[in-house]
Subunit: 154 residues, 2 copies
DNA sequence: TTTACTGCAAATATTTTGCAATATC
DNA sequence: GATATTGCAAAATATTTGCAGTAAA
């Protein structure tokens, strides 16, 4: 699914959600959603705010937080707290789940796909708990930090 | 391993780490570490601060944050950001990894052990990345929220 | 004696909230 | 017309930082 198509699909999903929840179709919500598909897969509120400002589209931070929460609620976005600072958001991929490798030294984040693992995860059932989705964080050292550590030891 | 034993082991590990890093063995560090083993498996900085105050042992929040970071660095603690608010910490279990079921509605967190899954995770290798540990978060609805949702529908 | 560590208070950063004005339904 | 949503500013929350005094090595 290319970006224009997934943008259209996301708009439709939002419209659907707004309809069922009897909310309102404001221009802000659609503009923010569109922008999310124009910028990176991962973003922070601040990145999104800056990107919108650059376009000359001004929204308050309060609206940004509200809208993002709405998108999370309707399953279009996932929230991550990789570091202790600001939350990061990512679009929910239509298919092909991935997880995150997080370098404990430099904080760099890499996405990996691991089909076998995703299948295993999807087969898990926990009594009395109704699973919606998973987030797997793998902590360790990225290649760059492994190398720089070796250099230091010499 | 019972609590007194794991407390002793943790103290020893801290001493070892402090020694190799040429840091200092301050009474605050050991008192904080001890307290961590007296309270819950999971805690926030605020809970820990309150618990210490209750004992009449005063440490500044700055010292608390510093010490906790030190414990994370030496592998005695893990940091989690379950919600967007304050960080939660948990003691690293000597053996028997577990993961977390997080209710997206009420925020309640439950721990589960899943040996098969842990074995699967431990067998994963990602090129150029040197894995240290995993954190798996399972999002969904807890039994209580499933029930309360059903009631609403009626 | 050197300097890592502590406590305090101020600073920073992120997110939330109250409220009046506006726009959707 | 009713009220959900917006923008703004202020508030709340969590964490970090600067610095002077203290104490571990």
């Amino acid at each position: 699914m290319n970006d224009e198509k997934s943008k259209t699909a996301a708009r439709a999903a939002l419209t659907q959600y707004i309809h069922t929840k009897k909310l309102r179709r404001t221009p802000e919500r659609y503009a923010i959603l569109d922008k999310i598909f124009d910028i990176a897969e991962h973003f922070s509120i601040d990145m999104l705010y800056a990107a919108l400002e650059q376009d000359g589209f001004h929204v308050s931070r309060a609206t940004l937080y509200n809208s993002i929460q709405l998108f999370v609620d309707c399953g279009l976005l996932r929230k991550h707290q990789f570091d202790g600072k600001s939350a990061q958001y990512e679009r929910v991929p239509g298919t092909g789940n991935h997880h995150h490798l997080i370098c404990t030294q430099c904080g760099r984040i890499k996405e990996v796909k691991d089909v076998a693992l995703v299948n295993m995860l999807n087969s898990r059932r926990y009594p009395t708990f109704h699973t919606a989705y998973f987030a797997l964080y793998v902590y360790g050292l990225c290649s760059r930090c492994q190398r720089s550590n070796k250099r230091k030891k010499k």
